[in-house]
């Protein structure tokens, strides 16, 4: 496990988190991951990066500033992400009944550690 792996593992300890990963927003590639079996890291990275870029553009247009954290809510789960330095994104894939506040805190910690 590399240094990032240990940081991501803390996120996956939160009940309901199915996986966590570090993504490069610029090219949509996975930098490091801790995913349960069945989740395709490359797809998660590409989709999360693409969504992050679109969210950034929408927020910039609204004058709301750069996104620091976002949470996509879905009927069967969700994706939470925190921006990190060097154009990175710390992402968590969750079940629907997860404690989003706790996941957010762990993502923020991970983003700090990555910095």
């Amino acid at each position: 496990m590399n240094g990032y792996g240990a940081v991501l593992e803390r996120i996956t300890r939160v009940p309901g988190v199915r996986g966590a990963m570090l993504v490069s927003v610029r090219d949509g590639l996975m930098v490091s991951d801790q995913l349960v079996e069945g989740l395709k890291g490359a797809a998660v990275a590409a989709l999360a990066a693409s969504l992050a870029q679109r969210v950034s553009r929408a927020l910039a247009a609204a004058g709301a500033g750069a996104p620091a954290f976002w949470h996509l809510h879905a009927s069967d789960g969700g994706i939470l992400a925190v921006t990190a330095p060097e154009d990175l994104l710390v992402v968590a894939i969750t079940a629907p009944d997860v404690n989003a506040g706790l996941v957010r805190l762990e993502l923020l910690r991970a983003a700090e550690a990555v910095a």
Partner: protein, 299 residues
């Protein structure tokens, strides 16, 4: 008054966590310096998010700016923190009266009178509401004008039941919904900003949005949100997350929540960072219900 403002500003500069912002914000508001009052109240609220008086002050400033939807949210929050908060009871009475819900205006004034039986202003407002039933809005606004806050006097650890404020929980809930619906309808009709309803083609259907510099950014944001929705749907589908239902975003300047009142529409709400993201999601979901009804009316 100018001396007071200088003194309070200096006290606040010395101790940014001081509750002096309550008095300073109110003084600025009364002096007509609404934007300055707004900044002071917002900064104070950021430091004291559980202070009922801070929410009350902010609500009064928003009401001065005719942003009644947000004023309602702030007074509602003040009452959740301190169920007998006089300023919040009077403020909500004013808003209920404004949308023609005399029964709720009276109920809130009666609750205010129970909290402070000797207040002649409340008695006068109650008499007006119970009397002809058609007093001018300015009259009742002047009569129930919320008082200056008393620093820390009503800061309380949040008992949750609003029934303690003297209102019947059932009808109050219905009236709350009516008021919220009226506020959302007004916003979607272009009366207020911060709420944007977007059609599936990424075009504005209702509401308005301005950036912090005051520029109208509704159309640009609507276009980008169309792309966000497509990407959100694709992401949820590819990762087996089911149907996407909403997107909460914490921006460096403001918080945004996007939800789907219908499969062919998006509703975006933008608020100051002082509003917690979770609360914004709750408000957005309630607004989505009202937006659905608004869309039905447009059909």
């Amino acid at each position: 008054m100018a001396d007071d403002i200088r003194t309070l500003s200096a006290r606040l500069a010395q101790d940014p966590h001081s509750l002096a912002f309550l008095e300073l914000g109110e003084l600025l508001r009364r002096k007509g310096q609404i934007d300055a009052a707004h900044r002071v109240a917002l900064a104070g609220l950021g430091r004291h998010p559980h202070n009922a008086n801070a929410h009350d002050l902010y609500a009064r400033i928003l009401a001065d700016k005719r942003d009644y939807e947000r004023a309602f949210d702030e007074w509602d929050m003040a009452l959740r923190i301190a169920p007998k908060h006089l300023g919040a009871l009077k403020g909500l009475a004013f808003l209920y009266f404004k949308v023609g819900d005399i029964a709720q205006a009276e109920a809130h004034l009666a609750a205010a009178q129970r909290a402070v039986p000797d207040d002649p202003g409340i008695a006068q407002a109650l008499a007006m509401v119970r009397g002809a039933g058609t007093p001018g809005l300015d009259d009742i606004a002047a009569t129930v004008a919320p008082p200056a806050p008393h620093a820390g006097a009503l800061e309380a650890p949040a008992p949750p039941e609003r029934a303690e404020a003297g209102t019947d929980a059932g009808p109050a809930e219905t009236a709350d919904q009516r008021l919220e619906e009226a506020a959302v309808f007004a916003a979607l009709d272009g009366g207020q900003e911060g709420l944007l309803l977007v059609g599936e083609a990424g075009l504005v259907v209702g509401g308005a949005l301005r950036d912090p510099a005051g520029r109208d950014v509704g159309e640009a944001v609507a276009a980008y949100l169309g792309g966000v929705a497509q990407e959100a749907a694709r992401t949820a589908k590819r990762l087996d997350l089911g149907e996407w239902t909403g997107l909460s975003v914490e921006g460096r300047v403001a918080h945004v929540h996007v939800c789907r009142p219908r499969s062919d529409a998006l509703l975006a709400i933008v608020r100051d960072r002082a509003m917690p993201l979770g609360r914004l999601a709750v408000i957005a979901e309630r607004a989505a219900h009202a937006a659905r009804r608004w869309l039905e009316r447009q059909a």
